[in-house]
């Protein structure tokens, strides 16, 4: 088989710029083959969906006009008038949701194989940051069509941010661009969504990918214990990469199928003087937090339920991010055991709160 080094372009570049560093990053990595190899693909799928977001987002930008009197109208125009506009919008909306879904799957698979342990601590930290950024992406994008549901979801969401003690009011005002959710909020969210977040996300993503390439894939315990001759590997490049690419193609077709047959609703235009409709829901990936906040009593001792909830989730997210650095001194239980129980509880909590949120 012809390899990269055989190509003329490559040798032209290589003789001038010495690309052995890049080659090393590509070739030195080996991907273990075992019954859980499938999880090694989840990050790649998430990456692919981000690239789709970038592409479809830029296309939407050609027609989208932020503003109280133009956001809703321009999205309606995209969906009804622009050639294939409905497709681009459906792709962007579906891919956003799939991207966050796969990011969650990726994170938990990394968690349960304890791949965050030394030397991958910072890979984990940057990964958690990416998930948070993706959720902020979703939250800010959700408002952009300026429909009733997104308007009230944003009112509620930003008001929750206001519950943070001391700095909450300030955060809320800066997010909203004023006291209330108005056209000023729309301008800001637009700026976050199409400029600040893509820049931040790209920077963290590059670090994340570099670390992954540099350190190589983690081996789960049962694989590590195998004698050397029983360990099977494939090379990252090209063997793993072509499998990755094939999966991307499959995901692309899944995405296109969803976008073709499941329209994303536009709803009715936001109106600051009409009462909130029933069934206000955040997007599914916020549901577990939203539902927990809803189930808290108005007052917990001396603090409001909301304040407690916000502080709790803030602290939990931070703790989750710092998990690789936690040390245990328990004689009774191994670290593996504790982490397994913790992870299972977290998954159970998220899944059950989400289900309750949709049933009630």
């Amino acid at each position: 088989m012809k390899t990269l080094e055989d190509s003329k372009i490559f040798s032209w570049l290589h003789s001038r710029y010495d690309l052995s560093g890049i080659l090393h990053l590509l070739y030195h990595k080996k991907v273990p083959v075992h019954k859980h190899t499938i999880w090694y693909y989840m990050g790649g799928v998430t990456l692919f969906l981000f690239l789709i977001q970038l592409l479809t987002g830029i296309l939407l930008l050609m027609y989208y006009q932020p503003g109280e009197n133009s956001s809703y109208e321009s999205v309606r125009f995209i969906v009804n008038k622009v050639n294939f506009g409905w497709l681009i919008r459906n792709l962007h909306s579906w891919s956003a949701n799939l991207m966050i879904f796969f990011a969650f799957v990726h994170m938990f698979s990394v968690f349960f194989t304890r791949a965050y342990e030394k030397p991958r601590e910072l890979t984990w930290v940057t990964g958690v940051l990416l998930l948070v950024l993706a959720m902020v992406f979703g939250f800010s994008g959700y408002l952009l069509p300026w429909n009733e549901l997104s308007f009230f979801a944003t009112k509620v969401g930003t008001d929750i941010a206001g519950a943070v003690p001391v700095i909450g009011e300030g955060i809320r005002t800066v997010l909203r661009g004023g006291e209330d959710v108005t056209g000023a909020t729309l301008s800001r969210f637009f700026g976050f969504h199409v400029a600040i977040l893509p820049a931040l996300f790209t920077i963290v993503l590059v670090v994340h990918l570099f670390l992954v390439q540099k350190v190589g894939m983690s081996e789960p315990d049962f694989f590590k214990k195998l004698p050397d001759e029983k360990k099977k590997f494939i090379s990252f490049f090209p063997d793993f990469a072509i499998r990755d690419a094939l999966l991307w193609l499959i995901v692309l077709y899944l995405l296109i199928f969803l976008a073709l047959f499941f329209q994303w609703d536009l709803g009715i235009k936001a109106d600051a003087l009409s009462p909130a409709p029933t069934g206000i829901k955040p997007e599914w990936y916020f549901m577990f937090m939203f539902q927990s906040l809803k189930m808290l009593p108005p007052h917990l001792g001396f603090i409001e339920g909301e304040v407690f909830g916000v502080l709790f989730f803030g602290a939990a997210a931070l703790a989750w991010m710092l998990i690789p650095f936690v040390k245990f001194n328990s004689k009774k239980y191994t670290k593996e055991r504790i982490m397994l129980v913790l992870g299972t509880l977290v998954v159970l909590f998220i899944v059950s709160m989400t289900i309750i949120g949709y049933l009630l």
């Binding site: 509620v156 800066v174 006291e179 000023a184 003087l273 009462p275 909130a276 409709p277 809803k294 909301e306």
Partner: protein, 146 residues
């Protein structure tokens, strides 16, 4: 001054200068992000038209300055004016004719017609406004205490 000393000196200068520049850039950026107070004068009263035009057992949401108010004409013909912003998480409330209560659809909060929070998550009552009738015309004003 040797090479080492020169490097130390330049590093110190760079650190102080860099830090100072960063801080002095930070302040205007934060200030820039802080929204400008709207120039609109705050409103102190609102005319709502003839009392006789307002049907019994009806309600509407109106704008009082920048704030939404809910105006309810209850079944006894008594008018109520309250802030329409739920004290829970800021959704706009509505009047439920069946329950004869103010409800918030976002998380099922309930208030009575005086704005008192009765059930659901709202932690505080809705702010009440004063309803005056002058020559058959409805005029809403802020209450002195708030």
């Amino acid at each position: 001054m040797g090479n080492n000393g020169r490097r130390k000196f330049i590093t110190a200068l760079l650190s102080i200068g860099g830090l100072g520049t960063f801080i002095s850039a930070f302040y205007p950026v934060v200030k820039y992000m802080t929204p400008v107070k709207s120039g609109k004068p705050s409103v102190s009263s609102l005319k709502l038209g003839k009392l006789s035009d307002f049907a019994k057992n009806a309600w509407e949401i109106v704008r009082f300055g920048r704030k939404p108010l809910i105006i309810i004409n209850d079944e006894n013909g008594k008018l109520h004016a309250l802030s329409a912003e739920c004290t829970h998480l800021d959704c706009i409330v509505q009047y439920s004719k069946e329950e004869k209560m103010i409800i918030c659809a976002c998380h099922n909060g309930h208030y009575d017609l005086n704005g008192k929070n009765i059930s659901g998550p709202p932690p505080r009552p809705l702010k009440q406004y004063k309803v005056n009738i002058q020559n058959g015309e409805i005029i809403i004003t802020k209450k002195e205490d708030g």
